[in-house]
Symmetry: D2
Subunit: 442 residues, 4 copies
């Protein structure tokens, strides 16, 4: 039996990692056809990646067929799994998401604040199209979405498209386990965490080492180790003792935007002056990576990729494909319908949650009520996500305004309009759902 995987955004610098994942797991899941799909403007990158992928397969001596195309609909026919790792508008758009808020004194970040909202606005319509095509062309296939903001995008697609086989993945849960493992000087596979919340907003509620509850010890070490607990792409400022002792949970690195807003903003403004925004740094990294990829001697994923920031995303996707395909029933952390797992949220809210992975998709493990400490915060963020999805799918100006207004990183009734209008103008080529001729935003 053969499995066909379609990688949308196949020209991404991350693709070699997922190819490596498929090669390594071949004995468990026989993926024999991989189609890389991208848009014509990404032709050069796509060809580079496709060549590298073919060299990797050749070295592995496995019967995997690699191809690439710009015809997405054709590629989807017969697909078993589809992954999406796209960036609508490219790094140029990300630069705007970062620079425009920063200019007005607000956090400018890829998945949080005004920037994150606009990334959602650009991405959701494209993902809805993909899901709609899948519903028509490969209705049994699973859509595994890596595209950020992964939680919001996944909820938008699973709610607003007819295709329901959609799962979002992120590398933050792995990175959190990895960070804890470092503190306990153990293998990451020995650590389990009960995650609570949404993508990029999860907390680690319980930590186990070899099945033993070591939460208290983990929190203690977290205070001691301080800044050293952080994934590669976010510089942590460290958490204070009362924060950890009061929350009694492990924060994730993105929480700094909400609890250290002023400090992060100062740091980012400084970095902006010194080396440009994160997107501008990444642009250079990408150039270097693709130079490396073009080396025809290279037959494996290069080490440099691990420093790119999104490492382990692909790993999460590979694990998911394996468990769905084999009905493995192991526990993985995914973005899927809450379905009651957190009693305070609705059944059709998408959360990031530990779930048993079956042949029919993820079944979340129940969490119960949210801890009182974060109940308000989580429900507020989920409501903000709803406003973002509402605006992204309707193109309604007032909904978009409310999404910004209710985002804790904006929260200013006059500046919300300023940011909204500038970002709508800056990204207008990628926001067909908003009627940008309206007088309102002139």
């Amino acid at each position: 039996m053969t499995i066909k995987v379609v990688i949308i955004g196949g020209g991404s610098s991350y693709t070699p990692e997922i190819i490596e994942g498929f090669i390594e797991r071949y004995h468990n899941v026989r993926i024999t056809e991989i189609v890389l799909v991208d848009i014509p403007t990404g032709k050069a990158k796509l060809e580079t990646i496709a060549s590298l992928a073919k060299r990797m397969v050749k070295k592995s001596q496995l019967p995997i067929r690699i191809s690439y195309t710009f015809h997405r609909r054709e590629a989807l026919i017969g697909a078993d799994f589809v992954t999406t790792q796209i960036r609508v508008g490219g790094l140029e758009a990300r630069i705007k998401d970062e620079r425009i808020p920063l200019k007005h004194g607000f956090v400018g970040q890829e998945t949080n604040g005004a920037g994150g909202i606009f990334k959602a606005f650009r991405t959701i319509p494209i993902l809805l199209n993909i899901a709609s095509d899948m519903h028509e062309l490969c209705p049994d296939a699973w859509l595994i979405n890596f595209t950020n903001p992964a939680g919001i995008v996944t909820e938008a697609v699973i709610k607003h498209s007819p295709h329901k086989r959609v799962i979002g993945v992120c590398n933050i849960p792995f990175n959190m386990k990895s960070g804890i493992a470092k503190m306990f000087d153990c293998d990451v596979r020995d650590i389990e965490i009960e995650f609570v919340g949404m993508n990029h907003f999860i907390f680690g509620k319980t930590v186990w080492l070899h099945g033993e509850n070591v939460t208290d010890e983990a929190l203690k070490r977290l205070v001691e180790y301080n800044q050293s607990y952080s994934p590669a792409n976010i510089v942590s400022l460290g958490w204070s003792k009362p924060f950890i002792e009061s929350l009694k949970m492990v924060p994730n690195p993105y929480h700094q935007y909400y609890f250290q807003t002023k400090e992060v903003l100062e740091k980012d403004l400084q970095a902006f002056q010194d080396i440009g925004t994160r997107a501008e740094v990444v642009q250079q990294v990408e150039i270097n990576l693709f130079e490396t990829y073009q080396d025809t001697e290279l037959m494996e994923k290069p080490k440099e990729l691990e420093q790119r920031g999104g490492a382990y995303y692909s790993d999460a996707a590979c694990n998911l494909i394996e468990s769905i395909y084999t009905n493995k029933q192991d526990i993985q952390t995914v973005n899927t319908f809450n379905n009651g797992a957190i009693s305070d949220l609705k059944d059709d809210d998408v959360i990031e949650v530990n779930a048993v992975i079956t042949s029919e998709g993820p079944r979340p493990l129940t969490i119960g009520s949210l801890p009182n400490s974060i109940k308000g915060l989580i429900t507020k963020m989920k409501n903000m996500e709803h406003l973002v999805i509402q605006a992204a799918t309707t193109g309604d100006y007032n909904q978009a305004y409310l999404a910004l207004l209710m985002n804790p990183l904006v929260a200013n009734e006059k500046k919300a309009k300023t940011l909204l209008d500038e970002l709508l103008e800056a990204h207008k080529d990628y926001l067909p759902q908003f009627n940008l001729k309206e007088e309102k935003i002139l």
Copy 2:
């Protein structure tokens, strides 16, 4: 590392099965000490069982120490697991639970209707005492409760005692899988069912064969096979086609009491005249079993035990102990806090549910909202269970009346009083919580 298990109600005819289970799993879970506890009036049976258990261990050549005692508190010291398989008032009390309702034209059954309510009234205070002792003497030990009505008793204990490590088990989920396996002519381990509801009131919502969703086919076969789908201890009358096709779920055998009330009642009244109530039949089975057990040549669980009706209860308990002890994280069907698994019920309602079994107990898999077809039924039954628990823990006459009144198998405002008063009088020796000197019930 050694594990100590205390079996309360050790003189039960089921004990050889659990002993066999421990022997067979010894390589996975090293249970080295088993203490059988019972009350002095059960001395003869307890000694018979203890002797048989020792012969079984001897044959196995494993280093397991078997002992027995009437001193429950002493036995609990140092326990890792405690199982409860007691029958307060013995089969004599069960006969009353069956006969008194039957006499007045109501279903008389061990775990449903007025009889089930009174079994709960007798059992809950004893189990609360046991749990309270455990909290003091072996606070880390798990209480695994087999005693019926297992769902109600488990909820009463987990809510009203300080000891929270309580899990209820039942053999119905296994029997339902086994029945389906027979229809598919496959091994029971190849079948999985998503169960929805409470103990003795669960439905099978989805059926998988080797990980493939075969629910529709299972329902089709269920209509065709009709009466042959039934566990040993309940004679099924078969389900009609519209019932199965409308519900779109697999009923459990006890549902006949609610959907075939009149027919079951007629059958039971006939049986009552012909061969006595079920308790009276069981009494004879028990006499035969204990005669067999006394055979000093017998060194294993005799085949006859499998026909006793409660078979596989012990199996469920053994599996549970193994998975908790080894943090196995497999999926088992247990009675535990809902915790959001069924969105329509409260977090602290006990349900019978598929759960991942960890070293810290079961984590239910989410189910989401109840199907509309049974939403009212399930919430009504859960509410009735709350009334039973309320009455059992307070001894309040009015609450007891409401429990009977709101039970669909009673539901008559005048007869509820008749049944209540006769059963309170009949069982007064085992109902210390009710002040039976009150004028009310004269």
Copy 3:
């Protein structure tokens, strides 16, 4: 300013009461145009009623214009209020609703059990048409529905039609207050009751006399007065002391079907043999009433009408129209969206509830959680109502089967099919939504 009222089912024997109500309230609400609408087969009755209405108006010397028509859509143009008091299939259909269940040993009643379900099946499509016409022809008009089962019909219309200005009324709340007033020997206006539940299934949770909470005394008297507490059209069997003392609420007369099922059934079977079903008795009453109405000397509502059973329905409607029209903000008991009043039900469940009546319709007063005693019962009944509405609006056989199966007065998996098939056949002329050519029900 003039107000136009359209009375659909204007040929009903109840119409003189509502005409009297409008005449009496003329100084508060200037209803100047009343159009009586009916179907051509009711021509004779409609003309009799219209003539009587004209004589009543003439005697009053008020400038009210009475007219009648068979053209419903024309009548609706310009309407401010529309009342519906129709009986699809007439008393002949009611006779079948009563006789068919009785024949099989089940309660046969107009608004409860299988009969009530079929009355809903026949009525809902017609009411949906009326509401749809109103949405088009008089979108600001209020639909005041008297037609039984009033709660279910109101929920169906308010949920499934585009017209949301729909309120259901019933005389049971008034009758309960009136019954309590008799026990306290006071005027009915001095009594207030906090009602909890759904139409024909409400309980009186608190009773006030002149604003003072007298619930305990009312319950005490209820036990003492026993059978004498009952509205005209239902013979009460009286409630036992433990029932009242345990519930701690005032039941309504229809509760006898659920808590005295066996006794009611025996009584009804006896009455059936002696004098026919209730519908057959009513048929004779109607003949007598219309003879009275034809007397051209008669210029007012005759006393006999008060014995008809539905008395005070019209009174409730008149009060409602006055309060909506004048934004009176008084408290009336109506069928409307729960909107949170009972925390255990959904916002869009229709309940019978005390509400402040404003110019924009009723705003329920909050009740909070249901008492534990009836929580299961109420949620079960509401779920059953959902199944009825689902079946009535889709014509789905399986949904109809589930509605009967989950009705506590049927609850038998084989007999549910028998009743369903016979009633579908008996009423097939009035059930266009069910495709009655299907093999299923042959």
Copy 4:
């Protein structure tokens, strides 16, 4: 029949207003005994107020007895209504609540942000004592709380004391109606508003003029009138068009702290430099008021009081007393248990809501689900209030830290500690529940 009212904090400058209210309503509610209670340090003020009150009564020629005392428990005996208008720590404490946050760059305000939290910390223990005394000495009396933060304090008392007859009142609802009335150039009594939310955080969801829904027009005028809509004690910065058009609700003046944080902070810092904090301004106003009060010719409430900021508080209390006493069943806006009115909140959350006022207290009118625009915000604020109450009643440092951390006006993990520690130190004489010897806060 005589009514006794006890005014705790009787030496407040607001007292003449409530005395005037009682005099004016004497024909409806015969309040014949008024006891002013205060603490010994407020002796001079209390005597001044008592003298003025006596002169006011004398002028009215009504048989009202005025007295004053420092013995609260004695005063409570026989009370029918108790009002609380206290300021624990006096204006000196308020100055600290304002200055300390401002110093660190945070909003310093009496009822919002860190200052509001500490006002709650100081007030809740005192109110709990009063309620506890009432439960013992005048169990049927109603506690009418004016003390800010009125919503939080009311929820703390109603949840944590045995005395449940507690209602919170505020003048903001009246001021909002009054502001709208000005825009429509009508009497405030012609305006009704449906309020949604919590005290100092309510929105006006619907506006009626003479019973007609004029919400859209009100919002239009709100944008046009801009800054002129504001109660006396808060300088409004005006709301932008997109804010009003997106929210589709009337904000209250306190919302500026949350949606114009930066601007308010700048304004307050400027004011702080120019004229001191609000408390310092008020201190001078109070000195002038008491000079006026001492004028023995003064026999009525002086006009100057209306500019004090809290005007109409007393009016709200008088209306409430009248409606409870007479079971008037009119609609007033009060702080009471949600009880289902807002479906998204819990039954025992206290909200500010329109309620029918009966002899047994307020019965809220249902609101249903919160608008999506503010759902997250409201649930977040309510959760923050829970954290405040939890900290205030336990004195737990971590809970207090969480309350500050989760307050949108703090929300900084390091600064939350700074503010907490400085405010705990500053107010330590009034925070007995916090063990301020602990090393933590050194």
